[in-house]
């Protein structure tokens, strides 16, 4: 992997982690968690695990949708 792309992925992971911890609104935390997941995927593809990348990309939104099932009920 190039140094610039790897630096961009590391910056995405650190920004997502920091914002997910600092924010207090649940929707802001989920958006920041999505930034962290976006930073993880270039590392998986760079290792050559394309099947793991396909499976994880299709499974990871289910976790967010399950969390949103609680999130809507708390807000109202």
């Amino acid at each position: 992997m190039n140094d610039i792309v790897m630096a961009a992925s590391v910056i995405l992971i650190l920004i997502g982690m920091t914002a997910a911890i600092i924010n207090r609104d649940p929707f802001d935390k989920l958006i920041s968690l999505s930034i962290l997941i976006a930073g993880v995927f270039p590392f998986i593809v760079d290792r050559g695990f394309l099947d793991v990348a396909i499976a994880t990309a299709l499974i990871a939104p289910l976790s967010t949708i399950f969390t949103l099932m609680v999130c809507r009920r708390v807000k109202e």
Partner: protein, 83 residues
């Protein structure tokens, strides 16, 4: 099995794992939902650490079990809070 000693995803995975675990143990709001969302941060950090060891089947199993445990926690929260 491991070619190099410190690959970049190993180091950044350990950082995410440790900081995420501290954030789960001591969150800003003492709430179930905050802890559940913070619990996904060390999960992705652990996936980055496991990526260093070149085992594809372990990554499959961990990704599936993470979503299943999230669903079980959501059901427990819905039963406990009565919503």
């Amino acid at each position: 099995m491991t070619t190099e000693l410190y690959s970049p995803e190993f180091v950044i995975g350990l950082v995410v794992l440790i900081v995420g675990t501290i954030s789960v143990a001591f969150p800003r709001d003492k709430d179930y939902l905050t802890r559940l969302i913070n619990l996904e941060i060390p999960g992705w950090g652990l996936l980055l650490v496991m990526l260093h060891y070149n085992e594809a089947l372990a990554l499959f199993t961990f990704a599936a079990m993470s979503v299943l445990s999230t669903y079980i926690f959501v059901r427990i929260m819905q039963k406990k809070e009565g919503i």
